[in-house]
Amino acid sequence: MQDLSLHILDIVENATEAGATLIEIYISEDKNKDLLQITIKDNGRGMDAAMVKGVKDPFMTTRTTRRVGMGIPLLEQAAKETGGNLQIISEAGKGTEVVATFQESHIDRKPVGDMGATLATLIMGNPDLDFRYYSNLEGEEIEVDTQYIRGELNDSISINDPAVINLIKDLFKKNTKS
């Protein structure tokens, strides 16, 4: 994966496959501690303790199309390459929280990338799910809340209408320093 926004897209796909109806994505940095942290939280089916333990192992997958799962191991690798780590907190029947921590200034830390494109893809592909996004990077805060957007649209347009998706893309284009 080229950048963190692609890893995030991939980790959120796990949550959609786990039957989540609400998925939260938070990205924040702590300049004093030189940390960048990504949290992805869902209310899907969760995992039991044995599964959480095994999930960082690429040979652990519940998919039937292939015998290895790569999504989580790849994100863990990206975090570890910067001296950071990956934490998975999950409970069967409740949901899952994946927290990746990076040393922000590390030479191998991948750029955040295009979160606008990731959110656009997620909302486009999963119009029935709710997403809550908040990031605070380089002093710029961005928030996207599909429950709020849906409420404002009031059923007159679907949330996956290209006009709405483009508003979301534009929000990121205007408010991201590159």
Binding site: T65, R66, G125, P127, V144, V164
Partner: protein, 127 residues
Amino acid sequence: MAKLKIEDLKRIKESMKGTVNLRQGEYRVKITVHMGTCGIAAGARTIMSTLLGKIENSGANDIILTSSGCAGLCNHEPMITLEVKESAPVKYIKLDPEKAGRIFDEHALEGNPVADYALSVGSETTY
């Protein structure tokens, strides 16, 4: 804090007045982009953006674009499945924006599958 403005949402609501609200299920063409780890690493998100742009530019309101998990054919990614209602779905493999654009023009808009990029015709449904 940057977030979507109520005025912007109102504005697009206004601009949509009188047009048909496309609901899930009432479509002529459904395009599914496969979003497993391999697909994403191979460029599936760019394919999604390309197709979104094509839908917008064509003004088509009977084509839906969605995503699904891995199709289990990692070395063929990025992949899409295109389904014209009442016809067998077609899987397209090893895509790039140019190929995806051509598939959109020829298959989604004109109804002619693009054999050059297709994996197989028939046998599978999308989900």
